[in-house]
Symmetry: none
Subunit: 200 residues, 4 copies
DNA sequence: CATGAATGAGGCTTCATTCAT
DNA sequence: AATGAATGAAGCCTCATTCAT
């Protein structure tokens, strides 16, 4: 259906040019584009350039491939968030860094994997979610720490948990409409999102 | 897994207590809870209380059921938006009305169908999307008209299209975390969302 | 491989001419002839005259078909043993009845199912063996009762358990070599076996 | 399921401690325990302590391994029979020797290989059976010679072929129930079997 | 309109075997 | 000889859809 070229997908983190990494890159792309359930292992193998049976030398099951895509997405982007936070001096700068980094995650090189993480979350069992949830909590606590600082400065009203959820809705929602080279760039989008998050 | 009771699902719009409506209510529930691809027609028939073959007397295919759920969701909620707009006198009041109505759509009685509309959008073909897209444009134009008015009042910065997308991300994102009877009510949530949308 | 004719296989007990019974007759034949693991569901379906997918309307899995064959075999032959015992007046007559009935089971109309019961026993899990084991115990207790009576009469030496096991080896072993219309008939075989079992 | 230790399996005949012999010992064990079809070459290789691909340096195919196990079983036990016969002076003593030797084959050090020989006989093609059948005939003719002698003495009634088959059923059947260190020893079992074979 | 057995294409996975290293 | 990744055929099973009753 989509004989897309694998080498056009950026190798990042564990999704490198090893056999395993190439499967994950193709899987992130196809699971995002078509959905997990509608993607067959044969399509996936075709895109990777191997036989479908060979997938099972690298992963125990189709499920395991999905989990691995999600894990790579969250590991990589957790690193990005840690990095973003160290760059900012003031809480406002740190929030802007987080927003920019999250928008990059969602719309940049890891967009496929991130969308899979959000959209196919219910396709994995609770047991499989468990290790990912631990990382997700760490991820979210970075945001809450910054937002709590901003609340002390009076720049954030309301519950910081609610505030984070609204921001996260806004940023993750960009996956559904944002086009690079469209009417607005990612940094501009970050600026607009920051403006919404903070008191005028 | 889901021996849920059909009569606990609210009959709304075309999802009434006719045979067709009962199928749609069950479908909205199951497609939301398990995903379209992971829901079998047998499960659906079981929940409705008929045999799987009988579904095809009411709908041409499983796909057609999905489309009908989406159509009911969008028709009903378009009505709600029209109603919300007539209630407000000032643009700010009208925006608040829209936000509140959209949050009700997403988290209230039509939550299953709305989630299906968003999450399973790519499961239908472009031809099937077409009639829905027309209604969606009408839906979105209601928002843009109000936001344009607010921009004239200086209460909205930036591109109103971008503004709408960020709001829509925030509101639709609530489907992933909002719990009725949780730490915040829907009207409070609308208040918080409105505060983000407008300049302090 | 073996386009054998289904209607040549005798309908007995639960293996009647219902769809389910026809599957069981074919399964008993093929599992005996080729072994359970070497028989594919497609071969089985072909012999029954249905599509392979249709098998799964009647049985949950290939495993379940094997279990059902075994169950039918043991249920039917347990009945035969009960009947045989009521026909004999003296213990010797009853033993002869049991031997004859068992040889009929193994070499007569239920030969395929009986061979499957013995040869594929380890192909089913312990949980699946459980209900069958209960019937098997009843089956064996019929033999032990008769042999214990004979021991009191002095016509059997040794442990009756051992005696039964040797007889059962001899009778079940006939499955590997006995040919109807060969050099000896089943009643003659029963006579010879009885002679071995009892003291001269 | 079977992390059994290879060195616990007795090296006998061609199943010595050479690479080839170690494969055969493991194969006999696994093919008996799980069945030929349910044993994978990977399991076999794991038990031997090599990679699955390496098996094919020693044997042309999985089939060839099965044939070799059977061949070793029959060669070794044919020797044992020849030896047993030379030990007895009278026909009765020779028959007892054969029975004892066969029971040792089936329940002693070669039990796995012998069970494979019987239970998996139909898993090999007729061409593969051919060389084994020649040895089997030699094996069986040893028995018939002794039984014919006994018939002349009046100690055996009936057809000696039938007699042998019943004895063989009884002895081979022990594989299904006999436990060393159980209620009876192999020599006692031989005694009981001999008593059945001969006129009181 | 409803039933439910049957279809048959297609899904995921296993596994004996090969072969470049 | 040994390795172990890759193969590709084949296996079991699922499921939307049809149709005779």
């Amino acid at each position: 259906m989509t004989p897309a070229l694998l080498h056009a997908l950026p190798p990042i983190g564990g999704m490198d040019d090893s056999p395993r990494g190439r499967v994950l890159r193709a899987a992130a792309y196809l699971f995002h584009e078509q959905g997990y359930a509608r993607t067959t292992v044969r399509e996936l193998a075709l895109m990777v350039g191997i036989q479908s049976g060979s997938l099972f030398h690298h992963f125990k099951s189709k499920d395991a491939i999905l989990c691995a895509v999600m894990e790579e997405a969250i590991i990589y982007n957790l690193q990005q968030m840690h990095h973003a936070i160290t760059q900012g001096v003031t809480p406002t700068e740190r929030l802007k860094g987080l927003i920019l980094a999250e928008l990059e995650s969602i719309n940049g090189k890891t967009s496929h994997a991130m969308s899979v993480l959000v959209y196919e979350w219910n396709a994995i069992t609770e047991q499989q979610q468990e290790p990912l949830l631990a990382m997700r909590e760490e991820y979210e606590s970075l945001w809450l720490t910054v937002l709590d600082d901003l609340k002390l400065e009076g720049k954030v009203d309301h519950d910081t948990f609610i505030c984070r959820r609204l921001i996260s809705g806004a940023t993750f929602g960009t996956a559904l409409w944002f086009k690079p080279n469209g009417r607005i760039s990612i940094p501009e989008l970050a600026e607009a999102t920051l403006a919404m998050a903070l008191r005028g």
